[in-house]
Amino acid sequence: MDKIRNEQIRGTVKVEQFGDKAREARLRWFGRVLRRNRGYIGQRMLEMELPGRRRRGRPQRRFMDVVKVDMEMVGVKVEEAVDRARWRQMIHCDFQLLQVTVRDALNQAMDEELERDERVFLLGEEVAQYDGAYKVSRGLWKKYGDKRIIDTPISEMGFAGIAVGAAMAGLRPICEFMTFNFSMQAIDQVINSAAKTCYMSAGLQAVPIVFRGPNGASAGVAAQHSQCFAAWYGHCPGLKVVSPWNSEDARGLLKSAIRDDNPVVVLENELMYGVAFEVSEQGLSKDFTIPIGKAKVERPGNHVTLVSHSRMVGHCLDAAAVLAKEGIECEVINLRTIRPLDVETIEASVVKTNHLITVEGGWPQFGVGAEICARIMEGPAFNYLDAPVIRVTGVDIPMPYAKILEDNSTPQIKDIIFSVKKTLNM
């Protein structure tokens, strides 16, 4: 009972958060004051400046300051207070699905799996006392101690190998790379030791391990710390590669990965860590997992199919929202798993929309998009295509540092919109 989170209890009985309720009350009062006739003392007080010298230091927060923030959060403007019914409707604090950041979703997933299975342990650089370089493992060391949350020295190849060895001997390690860029130091252990052993031993030796960490372009860290490894690891048989986009993906896929009996690479995205997403009630369950190898249609549409993974799924949805205003309905598919690739879902969508665009942050050559193009061409959906498949990818360069250059190195929403219109011949 004590392990159940507040959010879950509130979610079950559909109760709003106290802060939201207080905000609603504040805005209701504010609207009422505004609607009173001019000269009402309360109304005058809202804008009154106190005479005399202001005290030193930060100005104290006044009612209006708080209300301004409230209005911003709720998304209402002062003028709208005139209409009482509308105002009340707008400020009404409805029960909302829980907002969880991707970081917290990952943290919860690990926490629950550590609790569920004694064989699971986390090791990596700064995962324990530092709470994780990106704070993904925050609090776990305090809860599980040195035995199960292990800080390693900076020796990727060594600790990745140790993790694989421990997996061979029956444990279920979660090996965190501070970022996947550093996993290249250890890529031999990931591929030669983890991915191939089961096959080489004709099934005798299983390697149940999770390699996880932030992947893809980060912000302002230049070439060596910004690249996508989906194609790298997606290339190798024996590995499973997942690439979550939102909190639910992150939670469900990581839990599945930890429970899997095979090596799974979990490619998180650093830029998504702080982004909050609603997580359904069902998604908060301790038994919630997302099957590896299944894509998800995030938005149905019938004019063009956008296939994407990780952060670019958000870009696709934004582009789809813009295009919807122009009457173009995009079907957005969130791949979730890079390997094994869920081609069936893509094919089914292509059969419906007859147009396909792939969107990814990685480099174009031999990338995820390239693979999807090839698979579509080899499969039955090819005959349903009304236009060539288009890849929207990162620019074929090492990531530059300057912001303007960096922004132009990865696909932006406008690039997706442009490509859709090109494909649809508009």
Binding site: I150, G165, M168, A169, P173, C198, Y199, S201
Partner: protein
């Protein structure tokens, strides 16, 4: 040996003056000795009784033991396996309450069939002790004459002896004597054998040096049915409680041809950050010796066969042969338990064998057949077994893996350890130093073993390493440098290292100095970077198999014929395995995609073209 015999005889003389019902029989059963160093202060020079006393001691000498006449004094009673009537009569009259003295099966070989049996008459405990103090005694069980008997050692404490004497004295009731020696289970009899390895055949028994006859004290093994001995072979000494009413039968085996165990001086290990090293003496029992010999021979023959098959183009790809380094694999395995873990590099055939793989499975894997240990999917470098994690083709990559296995041992709270092997070439890999660091930091129960065969491919150690003291390269990790050509040395060092790990002191490094006779792999003739003379010299001077063989032969622990017999068996086994490996069908094509994942529902796998749809099951 002569000295020993004279010691025994003198001890017997000492006790010969008295007659007693408590006659102690010394049956020097082949291969079974117990240290009965009971007297805290044994006489330095045993007094020789001026005249042997007849009547209490009877000597029966069979023709082959005639040659021993000058060596074996009259008070050593030699009894042939076929117990002669008058002897039995004597026994009956003297010790009518006793069980049959036992023993013996068919001789190991014709010439080694006869050995002396010693009957001691000891009336008092003191006499017994005095006698024993001057002899090497072993309580043992009789052995099957085939020569692969269990070698048991026993230490009998003074109190035990007292007990025996008391019990034997107390027992007066006659018991039937079975005429067929060795058929009757001497269940209530303790067999204590004097270390009088009988020396039936002169050619087989070069004189033992006194240094090789060292007192031992280990497990006590008591009576066992002679017939059960054979099935017991291979088991460690099983202490049995002393049954009530048993008595001491100290005897020389009737066919006691072989020294059951001997102690050897072994090369002292170089130490790094260790106060104390492994012992400089090692005890080898006959049983162990034969087992090591057989395993090493199998390894050697298997590799030579692999060489042959490779040259016939039946084995493909990389093939790294282990011949020359056999002492390492067999010695390490002898120093750890099967429940411990092991991981090695690509020269993996030997370890696959010691970890439980069969020659057939290994050979079939080399030829890529269905019956291979990895069903033909791994090949030479990738073989796995229980608690054996390969076979890793990436030089040095197995070292962190091994440390990970050790981490799992520690995590799971098992008192197990991981032996992690690598070569002198891999010793220069960066990840090894990363692993040293973490293993030491986390006190992982891991034995890092560097098999230094002097060449990493074709680069000699001096050309590759700034420091060739591989046992010191862990810096903060204690290390040992061990003679890797001497199986006893390797075994003792491994035991020492295992104890170190199990005591929670963290990892330890061992450098085994060894040598490979073949080139790095089959594509390397192995002579461009070293001379044929060098190989020849190692072969002739420190071949691990020859070394063990010489030791066993020189100390009368085995006969040439016996070892030859083993060789023949090994050859047959290898031939049989090779036959299997060349005739076993190739893996079925349906197996092509299987085992990509573990415990997964069937998976579709793309073939070489989009129309080829394959299936993978776990």
């Amino acid at each position: 040996m002569r000295k020993m015999l004279s010691l025994i005889s003198s001890a017997l003389r000492l006790s010969a003056g008295r007659t007693s019902l408590a006659v102690q029989r010394l049956l020097a059963a082949q291969g079974e000795y117990v240290d009965m160093t009971l007297d805290p202060d044994p006489p330095q020079h045993p007094k020789i009784h001026p005249t042997p006393v007849s009547g209490t001691h009877r000597v029966k000498r069979d023709p082959p033991s005639e040659t021993l006449a000058p060596l074996v004094p009259v008070d050593l009673i030699s009894v042939n396996e076929a117990v002669e009537p008058d002897w039995t009569e004597t026994l009956r009259s003297e010790r009518s309450h006793r069980d049959k003295p036992v023993v013996t099966g068919p001789p190991a070989n014709g010439s080694a069939s006869v050995g002396p049996e010693v009957i001691l008459d000891v009336s008092t405990k003191d006499e017994m002790l005095t006698a024993l103090a001057n002899t090497e005694l072993l309580i043992s069980h009789p052995l099957d004459g085939a020569g692969d008997a269990v070698v048991q050692q026993a230490a009998v404490s003074e109190s035990a002896i007292t007990e025996l004497l008391v019990s034997s004295a107390a027992l007066e009731a006659p018991s039937p004597v079975d005429g067929a020696a060795g058929q009757k289970a001497p269940d209530r009899t303790v067999w204590a054998t004097a270390q009088t390895p009988a020396l039936p055949s002169a050619e087989l028994t070069p004189p033992l040096t006194p240094s090789s006859m060292v007192r031992r004290s280990r497990n006590v093994d008591l009576t066992r049915h002679p017939e059960s001995v054979h099935s017991q072979a291979g088991h460690a000494a099983i202490p049995e409680p002393q049954p009530a009413g048993s008595r001491v039968v100290v005897s020389a085996r009737t066919y006691a041809d072989f020294t059951p165990q001997a102690t050897f001086d072994i090369k002292k290990c170089d130490l790094h950050k260790l106060e104390e090293g492994p012992p400089v003496q090692a005890v080898l029992t006959r049983e162990e010796g034969l087992q090591y010999y057989r395993t090493m021979q199998i390894m050697r023959r298997m590799e030579l066969k692999a060489d042959q098959l490779y040259k016939q183009k039946i084995i493909r790809g990389f093939c790294h042969l282990y011949d020359g380094q056999e002492a390492c694999a067999v010695g390490i395995e002898a120093g750890i338990n099967l429940t411990d873990h092991l991981i090695t590099a690509y020269r993996a055939h030997g370890y696959t064998l010691t970890r439980g793989g069969t020659v057939r499975e290994i050979m079939a894997e080399l030829t890529g057949r269905r019956g291979g240990i990895a069903k033909g999917k791994g090949g030479s470098m990738h073989m796995y077994a229980k608690n054996f994690y390969g076979g890793n083709g990436i030089v040095g990559a197995q070292v962190p893996l091994g440390a990970g296995v050790a981490l799992a041992c520690k995590y799971q709270g098992k008192n197990e350890l991981c032996v992690c092997l690598y070569g002198d070439g891999a010793a220069n890999q960066g990840q090894i130093f990363e692993t040293y660091n973490m293993a030491s930091l986390w006190k992982l129960p891991c034995i890092f073993i560097c098999e230094n065969n002097r060449y990493g491919m074709g680069t000699s150690v001096e050309r590759a390493a700034a420091s060739t003291d591989y046992y010191k390269r862990g810096d903060f990790i204690p290390g040992l440098r061990v003679d890797g050509m001497d199986i006893l040395c390797v075994r003792e060092a491994t035991k020492f290292a295992a104890d170190h790990c199990r005591s929670g002191k963290g990892p330890i490094i061992m450098e085994l100095q060894t040598y490979r006779y073949h080139g790095h792999s089959m594509s390397d003739p192995g002579i461009s970077y070293r001379t044929r003379e060098e190989i020849q010299e190692v072969r002739s001077k420190s071949d691990p198999i020859s070394m063990l063989k010489d030791r066993m032969l020189n100390n009368n622990m085995a006969s040439v014929e016996e070892l030859k017999e083993i060789d023949v068996e090994v050859r047959k086994e290898i031939e049989d395995a090779a036959q299997f490996a060349t005739t076993d069908p190739e893996p079925p094509l349906e197996d092509l995609c299987n085992h990509i994942f573990h415990n997964e529902p069937p998976l579709e796998v793309r073939g070489t073209n989009p129309w080829v749809k394959l299936k993978s099951v776990s």
